[in-house]
Subunit: 308 residues, 2 copies
């Protein structure tokens, strides 16, 4: 059972959610609204041997990633981070020095992104390092951008360059990704109601854009030659961009009429149109690839699930 299906099973039960739940499970963040104030929340794990490799990557980058993964979800909602809590499960032989180094890096990252740690839990066990971070965010005057808001005929964009964020040793760009917090706020401001849907790219463009399609009941077309890919990747580079994951960039859709208002670049980060959404052709949403030579094929079911 894949994570997405499992989460659907789990959260499918929650048909009768109380009124306080303003964004139900299944989006980049859930939300509760209390006394007129909406608070967004998201949780992610970073586990040694799966999401990071303590044997080859510096501890401060591992700590950083555990927070940034969540901040990328905050960016996907165009919200602002407010606070975080961290649960750490430390290996028994981890030692005081590494523990302090780890928590100093957690606190530094949290401070840098104005997302202070307000609570935590520490366990020590006979197993590799695991960090679970929950981040809270404030819509701060911007209606959170959902996965389910895409309309047929939207233009599809991505930020940055994709693919190859994870190298063989567990290092790579996934450890130093910048959460697109300010970029997302500026996009939301520039596009207002024309910014229809957004998601962050953690499982790979193919899988994450499919989430937008599934939540929005649309199909999508990707022009593979348009996908912004990292230079050093082997050909066909678009394949890696579709499947690699861990980019922590944003994918979003906008009204076709608003395309001219999408900035080409924000804060040095390129913003690239890679395709469009279409009306649903069948029961299940699907993505079609249009290649530069005119050939067309269904997008393969690629993407990165963390248990694989």
């Amino acid at each position: 059972m894949r994570e997405f299906e499992l989460l659907q099973h789990v959260f499918g039960r929650n048909a009768d959610l109380p009124e306080s739940v303003s964004i139900p499970p299944g989006d980049d963040m859930g939300a509760i609204t209390l006394g007129g104030q909406t608070v967004l929340m998201t949780v992610d794990q970073v586990i040694d041997g799966i999401h990071v490799n303590t044997g080859s990557s510096p501890l401060d980058l591992i700590a950083r990633k555990s927070i940034v993964r969540n901040l990328s979800d905050v960016a996907a909602m165009a919200a602002l981070p407010v606070a975080a809590v961290v649960a750490a499960c430390l290996p028994r032989d981890f030692g005081e020095d590494r523990t302090r180094q780890l928590f100093d890096a957690l606190a530094e990252t949290a401070e840098r992104y104005r997302c202070p740690l307000v609570g935590g839990d520490i366990s020590i066990a006979d197993r590799p390092l695991a960090l679970t971070v929950t981040v809270f965010a404030d819509p701060a005057g911007v209606e959170p951008i959902r996965r389910g808001g895409a309309k047929p005929g939207d233009a599809v964009f991505v930020t940055g360059k994709l693919g190859g964020a994870w190298d063989e040793s567990g290092g790579g760009a996934h450890l130093t990704a910048e959460p697109r917090l300010l970029l997302a706020r500026q996009l939301a401001e520039a596009l207002a109601a024309d910014l229809h849907s957004m998601i962050d790219l953690s499982d790979g463009l193919a899988r994450d854009l499919l989430h937008i399609c599934e939540h929005s009941c649309v199909d999508a077309v990707i022009e593979t030659a348009s996908i912004p890919v990292r230079d050093q990747l082997p050909e066909p580079r678009w394949k890696r961009a579709l499947g690699d994951g861990e980019d922590y960039e944003l994918c979003f859709t906008v009204s076709d009429s608003a395309v001219a208002r999408v900035p080409k670049r924000i804060g040095g980060v390129p913003i690239t149109r890679i395709g469009r959404t279409e009306p649903l052709h069948d029961v299940r949403p699907c993505i079609t690839l249009h290649h530069a030579d005119g050939s067309v094929e269904p997008c393969p079911q690629v993407g990165w699930e963390h248990q694989s």
Copy 2:
């Protein structure tokens, strides 16, 4: 390094917390205040082999405990739960049936306590089960009861019966503890500003009352004969009550003048006076035990830290 010291190190850095942080790290829950609304949050882990034993305990009780541990923190602040997010790390051979059973039990517990799951993350790894639950709560018209509000001369109370909540096989009362949510609300209502401080009993009465003392800069005296202990415990039963932990009852202090207003029992749960607080005698807060035979001794440094 013990958990408490480590957390102090970690959170000691946060001297310049932003204004939005209305309760800083170190209490049962942290809090942020946004747009006049305070949201409380807490995180706890339940790890197979440390906090539970999947070999001998039913999966639904393990799921239940992972949420109730957090709800006990909510009770300690006299708040009401609002929502939860769950991060699960499942063993690779866990299988679909057990996964569904686990998540159904998580959702059922969350629903029963009106604390719906609004998000989650699932990883699969070569390691025993670990569940990390973050719970959000609403003060709902009651100023959260802090650890640091005790005053010298307060009366010290506990709810329920203590000790022996964890049996040798990993089973026991810790799996079925009732979070004292409604009891705490009724206490807060009955005592108003005379309810000075409160904590939930997870690490053992001695250690948890010491947290109140440390946060409040007071000493405490416990009349060991007054401690409500489980019947089946071997003598001296007060010793087990002081050190065992995992009771998920509440310990609180009230103005001496308000003692008569403390209910003897709420919803069938006994509420017992066990001692008093005193002005600090030395630099470090301490607890003194007064025994029935008139003898006096310093409280031993007992209590349950989860890494031990």
